[in-house]
Structures are given as structure tokens and as C-alpha cells.
């Protein structure tokens, strides 16, 4: 198992957002996390990437116990994530974004005594990555001017720049038009080789097209886990979604 959690819990002032989750993600899988709004999917991601510390339980990632490790150390273990709420450097250009992400995989970042011209060696690779997510034409534009779906694509490029073993994508297709959704699905299919992907996704056709396993979360707990077909026909899942919708 590449990712394993045991009894993982997170409470915010008495409210339990993630509740005793035992998640196991197999190496090489695309593993989808689904569930109604507020089910705790993003909180679970934050626990896996060190942005939140668990109230209880443990997380191991690629054989390392990373419970309580800071985000930068987890990133350096080969775990990259994209954020649901787009989280970029508004004033930096797309090119600078990807160069920065590539810089993050090296030890060059500490060198305050050399010229930043050494970053030109990332120039071509950054261009390729932007091309892969369909943003090559916008490389010199500040990220703040992008449309929402384009920002999602840039998030993806940043995650890929780290050349991660584990890729955690929080709603990568949210806000994208049909064509971009398709391109993103194709992209995930291409980059998944040699990697493990965990995907939070509301779009069920995306889940159907990509996921080997699906875990359904509700009220912070694992409700059901199985293949897409198993999960889709499970009465508890149908109820959870209907219940979730009528409450919304």
C-alpha cells in the first residue's frame, strides 16, 4: 500500500470532520474519493499532506510514517497535491510558477549567491508541462488573470512538475468546460503510469473513466469502498447522495 491511514481523525472544536478513517491505496491505482459536500474529503487531503495535524490516528505514505510531518517534507517524499480552492501566486507568470515547482525538486533554492539565470535550465521542461495542460500560449501571463478552469489546469501542471510518486488531486476538473474535462481525463490517464493517483471528484463520469477503486465518504466516515460499479449500485451510497442533496 502506498498510502495507509489507521484510525485517522480530525476534529475542529468538537466537530469531527474526519472520523476514524482507515484508508488503503494500492500502488499504481487511481483511487477516487467521493461523497457529498462537507463529507471531509479535503480535510482528509490536508491530513495526508501535512497541512493539518490529525487529532488521532496515523498516516503512512510510501513506507514512511508521516504523521505530523510538515508539508514540505511530505512534498519532498514525492507527494504532490493540487488544491480545491485554487492556490497560486497571483502575480507570478505561468512560466515562473512551473519553474518554481521544478526548483522545488532540487537543492538550488537555497543558493542565494548564484544568479537566477540558472533557472533557465528549467525553461524547456516548464514549457512542456504547460503544453501538456493546454496553457502553453499563456506562459507569460500572470496567474491572477487566468479563468477558473485554467487555474485548475495550472494546479495540475505544478503537481506534475514535482514528478511525484503520489498525486493527490482535489477536484481537478471543477469549473472546466466539457472539452477541458476530457483533456484532463486523458492527461491523468497518461501521467498515471508509474504513479498512484488519489482523486476527489464530483463528476461521476470522470470517476467512472479513471478510478480503479472508489471510496465514498459521508460525515467524515468511510461509507462504502469498492469498484465504481459496486459503489454505484450500493443503496447506502444512493441514499447518502439523495440525503445530501435534499439537505443542500
Amino acid at each position: 500500500m502506498v498510502i495507509e491511514t489507521s484510525g485517522l481523525s480530525k476534529s475542529f472544536r468538537g466537530f469531527t470532520a474526519v472520523d476514524r478513517v482507515d484508508l488503503a491505496v494500492e500502488e499504481g491505482h487511481v483511487h477516487a474519493l467521493v461523497g457529498p459536500n462537507g463529507a471531509g474529503k479535503t480535510t482528509l487531503f490536508n491530513l495526508l499532506t501535512g497541512f493539518l495535524k490529525p487529532t488521532a490516528g496515523r498516516v503512512s505514505m510510501a513506507g514512511h510514517d508521516i504523521t505530523g510531518s510538515p508539508p514540505e517534507r511530505i512534498a519532498r517524499l514525492g507527494v504532490a497535491r493540487s488544491f480545491q480552492i485554487t492556490n497560486l501566486f497571483e502575480h507570478l507568470t505561468l512560466q515562473q510558477h512551473v519553474e518554481l515547482a521544478l526548483l522545488g525538486t532540487t537543492k538550488l533554492g537555497h543558493r542565494f549567491w548564484v544568479s537566477d539565470r540558472v533557472l533557465t535550465k528549467f525553461h524547456d521542461r516548464a514549457g512542456e508541462l504547460l503544453d501538456e495542460v493546454g496553457l502553453a500560449k499563456l506562459r507569460d501571463v500572470p496567474a491572477g488573470t487566468l479563468a477558473y478552469g485554467q487555474k485548475r489546469a495550472l494546479e495540475l501542471a505544478l503537481a506534475l512538475a514535482l514528478d511525484p510518486k503520489v498525486l493527490l488531486l482535489d477536484e481537478p476538473t471543477a469549473g472546466m468546460g466539457l472539452e477541458d474535462v476530457e483533456r484532463t481525463v486523458e492527461l491523468v490517464k497518461r501521467v498515471r503510469t508509474g504513479r498512484t493517483v488519489v482523486l476527489v471528484e464530483h463528476n461521476m463520469s470522470v470517476v467512472a473513466g479513471l478510478a480503479d477503486r472508489v471510496t465514498v465518504l459521508q460525515f467524515g466516515r468511510i461509507l462504502v469502498e469498492g469498484t465504481y460499479d459496486e459503489v454505484r449500485n450500493d443503496s447506502r451510497v444512493i441514499e447518502a447522495y439523495l440525503g445530501g442533496e435534499s439537505a443542500a
Binding site: P71, A75, L108, V114
Partner: protein, 353 residues
Amino acid sequence: MTVMVVRKLAGLPLLWRVLAVVGGLLVALALPWYIYPPVAMDIVAWALFAVALDLLLGFTGLLSFGHAAFWGSAAYTAGTIAIETGLPFPVAVLGGSVVAMVLAVPIALLAVRRTGIYFAMVTLAFAQMVYFVANQWSGVTGGENGLQGIPKELFGLDLSDPFYFYYAGLPIALVGLLIAWRVVHSPFGRVLVAIRENPARSRSLGFPVDRYKVMIFVISAGLSGLAGGLYAISHGFASLQEVYWTTSGKVVIMTVLGGIGTLWGSVIGAAVIVQVEDYVATSGINIGPLEITGPGLITGLIFVGVVLLFRRGVWGTVAHLLRRRRSVPDAEPHLSGTTAPAVEQEPAVAPKS
């Protein structure tokens, strides 16, 4: 190939930069011909101090309100070395800088756990402790009297004339400015800007944000120390004023006045404030008791005026206007096909422990 040509043309700001550097050097060399030389030396020392602060405030987004600790401890150290050992003054200044950096390490380790106003408060608290120690430890610092009679030794040259001392001291400040420039235009400098813009995202790209902040804090303290040591040698004394909180405030004012995140702005801010204070102090303008009003009041008024008129500071505003005129044509065409940016919330990221 055409891409290369376009890039070259887009790199034309390089020409401006070279002109600015050459112009700046000429002004620096000519300064003591036009300005009373001790004041010229003050401008140079404060300029380096303000640039050092800008590395934190402008390039990393950290407001230190305790930089007097580094300027002042270096002033005392440089003074003591010069008096006790009689070594050439650049060695004494360097010694001051090293002590400032050593002092900065524990302060940085504790301060970087906080951000915003809390960071400012932690740095201020430490600087007040340094002030307290300097006041008590009068055997070394001279207490209220300060450290007097600091010699300007340099291989037996006679530097008692401030005009000549200026040219002996200027290279030290220039080296300091060069270091600041190198740091800003390095891979490290890129990461600093990323940290300023979005620390949480920087961490998820694998950058240990706190370690970067400690590093730049220590570099900034070292440059502040160079400036403080130079100042003490130039004046021939170091007083409690050097570690007092108003010194921390004054350098913040200079940096903000000139425009943060620009380096040049800090230099201009320092030149303006030092000259205004010198003018007020020597012209006999007197609005009530000097400790309350005097130079400080005028400085404060100018500061408020500039901040209200130009949000980016003097240099920041000029640079912005120039950049806007240049970059409108090359940034705009790419924007077709994008819709208005979505309104973003703050990333939902927990505070680090």
C-alpha cells in the same frame, strides 16, 4: 530564433538597469562634493540599512520592528574592536556584522513562527531586550555616555577628514548593496518572493518556508550590521540611540517611503530622511521641545504624506508607471480567451504548528 530576438527586446529593461547602476555609482562618488561629508556617509550607511530591511519587508513580506538590535549591536561591537585592538576599521565593521548575524539566529528562530503584526512584536520585544542589556552593561557600552573615541584606523592613513573617510567607507556599503542585489536575483530570491505571495503553496512545492525565513533574516541582520558598524566608525561613537526602538522605526519609514520590494526605493528613502533630518536639526526650526517634535515630527509628516499620495512609495510608483507603459502591449494579447478571474477565497490551510 525569433523567440530569442523578442526576448532580447523584452530584456531592454536591462539597459535601464545598467544606466541606473552607473548613475547611482556616479551620484555616490560625487556625494561628498555636494553634501556635508559626514551626512553623505550617514546617507550611505542608512541606505544599506534600509536595503537590508527591504530584503525582509519587501521581498519576504516580514515586517521587523527590531532591526535596531542588529544595527546597534554591530555599532557597539565595531567600536569596541576598533578601540581595543586598533585593527583596520573594515575588520571592526565586519566583526560587528558577524555579531549581528549571531544575535539574529535565536531571534529569527523564534520570530519566524509568527507572521504579520505578531512577527513585528516579537522582533520589537527582542530589540528592547538588547536595549536593556546595552543600558545595563555600561562597562562595555558606556551606558548613557556611549562608546566614545572610536578610531578610524586604516594602515596608518589619516582619515580624520570626513571627506576622505567617505571614500574609505563607501566600498563597504557598496559590497553590502551588491550582496543584497545578488540575493534578490538568485534562485533563493525567487523562493522568497513565492513565500511572500503564498507561504502555504510554497510549502506544498517542497520549500521549507521557516528555514528560508531564518536565512534571509540572518542575511538581513548581517547587512544591517555592516551599516551600523560603518555608522559608528564614521561618527567615532556609538550610543544607546543605536539600539533604541526609534532607530527600528526610522529604517522602516525609509524603506516604506522609498517603496518596498525595490531596493532602489530604500536608498532613496534613506537619502530623503537623512537629509530632511539634517536640515531640520541644523536650520533651527523649532516647534516645541526637540525630543518630542524636532526631526522626528517632520519625518513622520513626510512619511504620512507620501504613503497617502503614493501607495507604492516614491521609487515603487515611478517603477510601476514605467513598467505599465512598457508592458501593456506584450501582456495584453495573451488575455484573449480568458474570462474574468474568479473571486478567490483565502486557501483553507491550517496554521502550521
